[in-house]
Amino acid sequence: MNFIVEILGGFSALASPEVLAYMIVGFLIGTFFGSVPGLTSVLAIALLLPITYSLDVVPALVMCASIFMSGMYAGSITATTINIPGAPSSMMTSIEGYALMKQGYGANALGHAALGSMIGGVVGALLLIALTPVAAKVSLLIQTPGKFSLILFAMVVIVISQRDAIAKGMVATLLGIMIATIGIDVMQPIARFNFGTEALVEGIDMMPLIIGTFAISEILYQAYQRRDPLAIDVDTRKLAPIRRRDFLPPLREIREIGVFTYLKSALIGYFIGVLPGAGGSMAAFVSYAEAMRKSKKPQEYGKGSREGIAAAETANNSMCGGAFVPMLMFGIPGDPTTAIVLGVLVINGLQPGPRLLDTQLDLIAPMFASLLISALILIPLTLFLLGPYFVKIVSIRKALLYSCIAVVALVGSYVATYSPFQMMLALVFGVLAFFLRKQNYPTVTLLLGFILGPDLEQYLRRSLSLNDGNPLTFVTSPDSLFFLVLTAIFFYFMVIRVPKTPKA
């Protein structure tokens, strides 16, 4: 009962003009970053991270949630209008959406994408609210060896999710763990890997790593590519104009897609979101493939299937709710965005775990409410108000955009400690991430390795200390054994017995 009251309190917190303003600003920022090719909602939240030092925790989390939701939806805008997915999770939408755009149904495709995102976002947020107390109770049952095995499971899933680059994913994850070991040891009061410098004794802060990995490396990557990713094809500009009256999908088309498709896609997206490292791209891909497999009109796929758009967009927005569950209950981020949101929590002194719901639900509930309201109201509202101008919005000049991002990123790094050392660290990590990215190493796994590494080490050493160094404790402890078996199952199905890739 108390939980429900607190959640309702979260909605009333959004009635505060200040918090509401942050939610709307966050949504617009997310829409912009999500729709512009080359920018992502991850980058938007990374740039926001330093600003959260000056914000209260509620507006900061509310803003993060609305950026997350809008960024996931907004990827479909450029995917449909100019055939360049604004975010990787909109790859499937670009196949179907742009085909419809060329047939003169661009507005209709955007309408279906928004409707799918809205349904997925709402279902994901409702499931998050409904299942978080259950997840909190389950998490209380997990003891120290189980926590180690859970984090190990998360790390293995993160690495094997990099389907074409598992070895590179492992390298990046281990690099993250290695960076995380710099500074004071997790169990003993000794400094490790500081190489005699005082500046490294306290370890590497999460912020320069995030800013470097996601912002500076992006700037360098764009400088590396001579072609302007924001340049829009002349032919695209000649396509049929987008009109507001065409946004609303006809009821006949919605019936053809079917309530079952929406719900199934939302559930797929949510549960993929719960898996660490899987993210929106996998959610959209799996849901799209499943919808195509069960479709009554599979021949339409690849030529402008509204059902395909609905399945992909419903799943990637539903993923947003799912990704919060492991982050809030176990401190294990489901994707890069929630990894940065975890940083916001830590900066504000909130520790993820089941006690978060007992003691600080009043701070978390507005974030849940923001996810729901962003999906339910802001997605359709933004489409209606800004829809006809989307192509113009994403035509901003690369030079101006990246200059602004560079200033926000570097000054933001300075904000944390008022020290240029943090700025220099951000630059160093940016250069490292740029070269890793250039060689197709997944930099997201570097961040997740950095975040999960200290907990992995701590639980491993604690478990062994408590059991006289006996490693069998990981097998004899039922919760630990459960996660080890789960790891083996995932490894079998994702690496050994690789699923067939559906034809798009």
């Binding site: 600003i51 000056s54 914000l55 070895a167 590179k168 492992m170 390298v171 281990l174 690099l175 763990i177 290695m178 070991t181 040891d185 169990m187 003993q188 009061p189 000794i190 490790r192 890997f193 190489f195 500076i216 700037i219 360098l220 990557y221 764009q222 400088a223 590396y224 590519q225 001579r226 072609r227 000049r397 690369k398 030079a399 101006l400 990246y402 200059s403 602004c404 560079a406 200033v407 926000v408 570097l410 000054v411 300075y414 904000v415 008022y418 240029p420 700025m423 220099m424 630059l427 250069v431 740029f434 060689q439 590494g453 992995l456 080490e457 491993l460 050493r461 062994l464 200390s465 160094g469």
Partner: protein
């Protein structure tokens, strides 16, 4: 094998070498860690040593992939002509890193307004803000510097360095 394939392979191997060196330094340092109290096998150096060993293993897998990709690439190159049109260059990123390092070095001494104005101007130049005159480029630099000063210093109350470093 085409010149672009050779360059790509060389870059991949250079990256592997870099990571190998980093890992070796890391492992050597890990082996020198002296614990304050005995924890048995899993002391402060256990995870770093384990991470290093796994890193060597992972780098070995990546190296194998690089070799296999190179073989496949050379087979493909013998059948098709190289059509890559060199849409990428490392020159601009290196310049961006240079001006960013200068900006960071000057940030506290010269202060936010001047250093940021010069930095933005340099970035606009490097990112080739085309069809724009000198005056407009200066105007953009002033506007961007001003907008973010208002955001950080006025709205979020962050103390940004002004000209303290230059004053006696």
């Amino acid at each position: 094998m085409s010149s672009s394939s050779i360059a790509a392979r060389r870059e991949s191997i250079l990256m592997l070498l870099f990571l190998l060196i980093i890992t070796t330094i890391y492992l050597a340092t890990a082996l020198q860690i002296t614990p304050q109290f005995d924890e048995g096998l899993v002391g402060p150096s256990f995870v770093p040593v384990l991470a290093s060993i796994l890193m060597y293993l992972a780098l070995g897998f990546v190296f194998r992939d690089v070799l296999m990709t190179s073989k496949a690439q050379s087979a493909a190159d013998s059948e098709t002509q190289d059509t890559s049109d060199e849409e990428t260059s490392l020159v601009v990123p290196i310049k961006v890193v240079g001006v960013t390092a200068l900006y960071i070095a000057a940030f506290k001494t010269v202060g936010y307004p001047i250093s940021t104005f010069l930095y933005v101007y340099a970035l606009l130049f490097l990112f080739k803000l085309e069809n724009t005159g000198q005056l407009r480029r200066i105007a953009y630099s002033v506007i961007i510097t001003g907008v973010f000063y208002v955001l950080f210093a006025v709205i979020f109350q962050v103390r940004l360095p002004l000209l303290e470093g230059l004053l006696p």
